[in-house]
């Protein structure tokens, strides 16, 4: 089987329904003039009656075939004119042609009537306002919608979108991120352990060294995905949530570059020119490490309940990639530098849609989750 036919498979794309064989009518007798005229009158009578009684285009078409096709009854008379007495031939010919025209016109007229009747019926009965019978009310999870939007923004900025396993190793999740088992920073994250080696990743930062191993430097990647932390679930805490990690490694990357990229990216995300500020933050895999705040979009920095009156909202932990992490990724810190950031995807979704209870996202409750549609709907 060819590939094309395997593509279309057993569909009906190429099924040609040929018309069934036409009825072949043989007219063998040689008619007399009077007979002919009389026969034409008969045909006239019959045809018009049949046209008038026709209720559909198909019936009319059968009438046309019966009288006017190559093998039709009127056509047969016209064809036989050669054998007719030359004296009366014009008279018969004229009559036959006249009949042919009459039938054609009658059919057209009847066709128009039928259409008119149909339209009349429809005009009174057709209701264009009823909804479709099965409304396709499918929806995407809001995480999917916002994640996709972010991926698009970063792809547009030349980033590769990668992912990594949720079942991670201690090595990628901690050790290669400059967080050995003795490090106090491990206390900051409550980890679900499978055994001494395997864990459910606590951060998408676990993708950093994987990405460097796979793509080398220079590189620009983002890694969105599901993360896990062992904590009690309440309205603002979840043990299962989404992050989006970003990593950019190149020659001479500076703190000034980090601020620029974060500002540009966040302005895209929020579709307005955001004001950002960096302040010190501590994460073992970056040096220096920052907390990036954006000026509160609700009060424009004047102070409101959302920003706890500070005018700023803590949004993105980030920093310059620690030289040890570059080394773990096989990248020479003498030649390359870079920055990394972690966007709280779940948090962003909650901000964007005004969801105040984080548990909605993993509830599976369609009353909530079907509200977000299938695309990132922008208000204007």
């Amino acid at each position: 089987m060819s590939i094309l036919s395997s593509l279309v498979g057993e569909s009906s794309l190429y099924r040609e329904i040929t018309a069934s064989d036409l009825e072949v009518q043989q007219m063998t007798d040689q008619p007399h003039t009077n007979d002919l005229m009389q026969r034409l009158d008969e045909l006239d009578h019959q045809a018009i009656a049949e046209i008038k009684s026709s209720q559909t285009d198909e019936e009319l078409d059968q009438v046309r075939v019966k009288y006017l096709s190559k093998k039709g009854k009127v056509t047969a008379i016209l064809r036989s004119l050669g054998s007719v007495d030359p004296e009366i031939r014009p008279q018969v010919g004229a009559r036959a042609n006249e009949l042919r025209k009459k039938i054609e016109e009658s059919i057209e007229q009847r066709k128009a009537e039928i259409l008119q009747q149909k339209l009349e019926r429809e005009r009174s009965a057709f209701d264009p306002t009823v909804p479709p019978r099965r409304v396709p009310m499918g929806s995407l999870h809001p995480i999917t919608i916002v994640r996709r939007e972010l991926e698009d923004i970063f792809r547009g900025m030349g980033f590769t979108v990668v992912d990594g396993p949720e079942l991670e190793t201690d090595y990628y999740n901690f050790e290669a991120l400059n967080t050995p088992s003795t490090h106090p920073a491990r206390d900051m994250q409550d980890t679900y352990w499978i055994n001494d080696t395997l864990l459910l990743r606590t951060q998408t930062s676990a993708c950093q060294v994987r990405a460097m191993e796979k793509y080398g430097a220079p590189l620009r990647v983002i890694a969105p995905g599901r993360c896990f932390r062992n904590e009690d679930v309440d309205a603002s805490h979840e043990n299962t949530f989404f992050q989006l990690e970003g990593l950019l490694v190149d020659r001479n990357v500076s703190i000034a570059n980090l601020i620029y990229v974060m500002k540009t990216m966040l302005s895209e995300v929020f579709r307005s020119d955001v004001t950002v500020r960096l302040r010190p933050g501590y994460f073992p895999f970056v040096e220096p490490g920052f907390e990036l705040d954006i000026q509160c979009l609700i009060c424009s920095g004047k102070g409101c309940p959302t920003c706890k009156k500070s005018g700023w909202v803590e949004l993105v932990p980030c920093g310059m990639v620690h030289p040890n992490v570059l080394r773990y990724g096989g990248v020479d810190p003498e030649e390359f530098s870079g920055f990394a950031f972690g966007l709280g995807l779940t948090r962003l979704v909650m901000m964007k849609y005004g969801i105040s209870d984080i548990r909605v996202l993993n509830s599976g409750d369609l009353r909530s989750l079907s509200q977000f549609g299938i695309l990132d709907a922008r208000s204007s």
């Binding site: 060819s2 094309l4 036919s5 593509l7 498979g9 009906s12 190429y14 040609e16 329904i17 064989d21 396709p136 009310m137 499918g138 929806s139 995407l140 999870h141 999917t144 996709r148 792809r155 590769t160 979108v161 992912d163 396993p165 949720e166 079942l167 991670e168 190793t169 106090p184 206390d187 679900y192 352990w193 499978i194 055994n195 001494d196 080696t197 395997l198 679930v233 299962t240 190149d250 500076s254 703190i255 000034a256 570059n257 620029y260 960096l278 302040r279 010190p280 933050g281 501590y282 040096e287 490490g289 907390e291 310059m320 030289p323 993993n362 509830s363 599976g364 369609l366 989750l369 299938i374």
Partner: protein, 832 residues
């Protein structure tokens, strides 16, 4: 951690303007300020008062009537505190004065006696929780003195987020913050007042120190001080401790806490009667020396089961404290104590952390040791303690000179940086003088190197990291960048676009493909995406009869029924169905998510080949599946068949989306498809899905046995496909073929076959028929109604025929029909 501005002012000038700016300044350059609290301004008119007489209340057995001399007057007050006595000096709030929160004190009648003010407890003054009795003023004062001034109640307290101090052991005390503030404001840092070292070493060592485990104890300083007592601390000291969250106990204990809160160095005072020779060893070593039992009672009265690795402070071989965490009840300072052995030591951060976690006991001390302390601080703190104790108790003197054992001293680190590196990394020009100024103000020693002819404008430095920053935090040149940039101010760095070489951007295709599958399911198939947890709910699995023994287990689940990782998406989706069916009759759910397989056989879980995982093979224990469930109300065959067909269409669409391929549907056989045994799989109405011979999953009507777990009359069909398995399906690359020039003819044939014969088997047989005109065979429909022979069904197929060089004549068409019919007859297949 809380900071008292009064305390900080001991070391650096902080004027009113700086007080206002300080929270922002610290947040932007040092550590996050969580809260600012102004204290004491609301305590007005409270004065020192001497109780001149105490008499019983005529109307109450517990209350007393006291007369208080407040300098200007003697006032009457009703008081319920048990500790009032004549001659006592108290903080008295007369009528018209105000207490914290600007609570106004007024005259009131209590059980028939008018009270013109009140004698205050600590809590009433806002300096701690003590409320059992009134506060006794022990500091030198006279009636009428202002208590707010006497107790230094006016202060500003700044609360710092501990998380932002994880890497800064030097900031776990006020002096470290004073140093930061001095650097940030360009003001001088005042020296710490300490006793001279010679004073500490002037006496012979009476209490020797031995360290058995030098891996866990870096330094141990012990100093014996006598001539002391356990009096109450001076008021100002109590106020400071209370404001930063520490409960005042007695002067000696308070002072160990005070020095810790000042310098970040935890200290401990043992009652000298209980310790004659210090030995530092692990609990395991103690046991080996004959210690009976496995527990140790800490000074909070709790008997704790000790891990062998815990480091203990012992009197000989008898434990008296858990190193770096908490002292023992057997050696704590008591009211009768007149001499102490003062411990100031440095313990290994990891060891303290592990023991604290094992004991579930995190203390102010252990939190500090966990950050890796500078060993030099141990001696500094001892000298500071001696200085302060003598300020308050002049009779204090040394009975046992400084015993100091330091197996692992902290040494300064030297780092080399240059001005180009600083500017390149920061992305802005920072003047060299500024770099030098910042580092110097933070306590770094900066030596400009003779750059010689190296290059124009570039300045090289050798930088010595002070020991209090050199334990972990600052060890690399890049760590100096942080110091320079944060004090210089991140706000002063202008954002700059990045200069990069253009190169193609590669994408991991499956991320895009999975998204497209979601799009298709939600738009074309009207399905709603949900997320469920990555672990099973064992209770629910039991409900639906799903037994999964061979699963990965979480060692430390939050909730025990959630300790196994899912190998199938279906159970959690069925749980979501159960949640939703109360609100909706017809709905379709789907999830795309990971499932987790058990470790490969033969690999012991703890010896799992990490290298194999690192090389990316970890994906083999984690696959991404898509699972769809169609739910409706009603039990008709037609509904089941429609739902089944809908899922087949979805499978088909997914195969096209993922690999430009079609889907194959096969009978699901127990031997070939182990999933057939899953509890939700229908015994009959099910099929296996594959593409290009790669098994992908299955479609099934839900097993009717499970239906009683759902609302009455509900029914479901389920599809589960392994999206990761598509990696093995080759991409269907289209090759263009000219459309036929001459018309094709499609001939329908209705064949009578056994009711049990699958279409796939029939088709395979029909494909054996070869004819030069035959192009394809396609399915039209199956009829099982009346008018058929017993045990037969009628399957209609369409045979498409044509020629590449002419239009078929009716004769050719007839000949084809005849040939096919006679071929069928040979095989015993008759036409309907």
């Amino acid at each position: 951690m809380k900071l008292s501005l009064n305390w900080l002012r001991d070391y650096v000038d902080i004027d009113d303007k700086t007080t206002e700016l300080l929270p922002d300044l610290l947040t932007m350059s040092t550590a996050e300020v969580e809260a600012v609290e102004h204290k004491g301004a609301d305590v007005q008119g409270v004065v020192a008062g001497r109780i001149t007489s105490v008499s019983p209340h005529p109307g109450s057995g517990t209350l007393k009537v006291i007369q208080v001399d407040i300098g200007s007057d003697v006032v009457q007050s009703v008081c319920g505190a048990p500790n009032v006595r004549a001659g006592m000096m108290v903080a008295f709030a007369p009528c018209g004065s105000s207490l914290p929160g600007f609570k106004r004190v007024t005259a009131s009648e209590i059980a028939g006696v008018t009270s013109y003010g009140m004698a205050c407890s600590q809590r009433e003054l806002g300096i701690g929780d003590a409320h059992e009795g009134v506060l006794e003023l022990t500091d030198e004062c006279k009636p009428g003195d202002n208590v707010a001034d006497l107790l230094k109640l006016r202060d500003t307290v700044i609360e710092i987020d501990n998380k932002s101090l994880t890497h800064r052991p030097d900031l776990w005390g006020h002096y470290g913050f004073a140093r930061e503030i001095a650097a940030l404001t360009g003001r001088p840092l005042r020296q710490l007042q300490m006793s001279p070292l010679e004073e500490l070493t002037s006496k012979d060592v009476a209490v020797p120190v031995a360290i058995d485990d030098t891996e866990k104890c870096f330094r141990y300083c012990a100093l014996g001080i006598d001539g002391i007592d356990t009096r109450q601390s001076p008021g100002w000291l109590q106020t400071r401790l209370a404001y930063v969250g520490m409960r005042p106990i007695n002067f000696i204990v308070d002072l160990t806490n005070y020095v810790m809160l000042e310098l970040g160095q935890p200290m401990h005072a043992f009652d000298s009667r209980m310790i004659q020779a210090v030995r530092v060893m692990t609990f395991g070593q103690v046991k080996a020396k004959g210690y009976p039992g496995t527990t140790f009672k800490t000074l909070d009265g709790v008997e704790r089961r000790m891990p062998d690795s815990a480091l203990m402070i012992c009197n000989g071989y008898h434990p008296v404290a858990i190193a770096g965490i908490m002292g023992g009840e057997n050696s704590e300072v008591e009211p009768s104590t007149t001499a102490i052995l003062l411990e100031s030591a440095t313990f290994d951060a990891t060891s303290v952390r592990r023991t604290a976690i094992a004991l579930g006991l995190r203390t102010e001390a252990s939190m500090r040791f966990e950050k890796s302390l500078d060993t030099n601080l141990a001696l500094t703190a001892t000298r500071r303690f001696l200085y302060l104790v003598k300020q308050v108790i002049p009779t204090a003197s040394i009975y046992s000179g400084l015993a100091d054992v330091e197996p692992r001293p902290t040494r300064p680190i030297w780092l080399s940086i240059d001005s180009d590196y600083v500017c390149r990394y920061a992305g802005t020009k920072i003047p060299p003088e500024r770099v030098e100024g910042i580092l110097t103000s933070l306590g770094f020693t900066v030596n400009r190197k003779d750059a010689g002819k190296e290059s124009e404008g570039k300045i090289c430095w050798d930088v010595q990291v002070p020991t209090y920053r050199a334990t972990k935090d600052v060890t690399l040149p890049v760590d100096l960048i942080e110091e320079i940039a944060r004090v210089y101010g991140y706000d002063n760095i202008t954002p700059r676009s990045i200069a990069v070489t253009l190169s193609p951007v590669h994408q991991d295709e499956h991320i895009e493909l999975h998204y497209r599958v979601k799009q298709t399911l939600s738009t074309a198939f009207g399905m709603n995406e949900i997320h469920t947890y990555s672990w099973y709910d064992k209770d629910w699995n039991k409900e639906i009869g799903h037994k999964d023994d061979n699963v990965l287990t979480i060692v430390n689940p939050g909730i025990s029924k959630n300790d196994t990782l899912r190998r199938h998406l279906v159970p959690n989706l069925l749980a979501a169905v159960a949640k939703n069916e109360g609100y909706f009759d017809d709905f379709r759910l789907f999830e795309i998510g990971s499932v987790y397989h058990p470790l490969p056989q033969g690999s012991k879980s703890d010896a799992f080949d990490e290298k194999a995982i690192r090389s990316g093979d970890a994906f083999r224990i984690e696959d991404v599946h898509v699972c769809c469930i169609v739910h409706w109300k009603g039990r008709s065959d037609k509904q089941e068949d429609e739902a089944f067909d809908l899922l087949k269409q979805a499978a088909w669409a997914i195969c096209r989306q993922m690999r430009n391929r079609t889907a194959d549907f096969e009978i699901m056989d127990e031997k070939l498809h182990p999933e057939a045994g899953l509890s939700w799989i229908h015994p009959v109405k099910r099929c296996a899905v594959s593409s290009c011979g790669v098994a992908l999953g299955y479609i099934t009507v839900i097993n009717p046995k499970l239906l009683d777990k759902f609302v009455q009359g509900a029914n479901m069909a389920i599809m589960d496909l392994n999206l990761t398995a598509f990696n093995k399906v080759p991409m269907g690359v289209p090759v263009f073929k000219e459309p036929p020039r001459y018309p094709r003819v499609s001939l329908d044939f209705s064949l009578l076959v056994d009711v049990s014969r699958p279409y796939k088997a029939l088709l395979n047989e029909l494909r054996e028929f070869s004819h030069p005109l035959l192009e394809s065979i396609s399915y039209v429909d199956t009829y099982t109604g009346t008018g058929l022979p017993q045990g037969k069904k009628s399957v209609t197929v369409a045979m498409t025929i044509g020629s590449s060089d002419h239009t078929l004549s009716s004769q050719e068409i007839d000949d084809f029909s005849d040939a096919f019919i006679s071929w069928l007859a040979d095989r015993g297949i008759t036409l309907r």
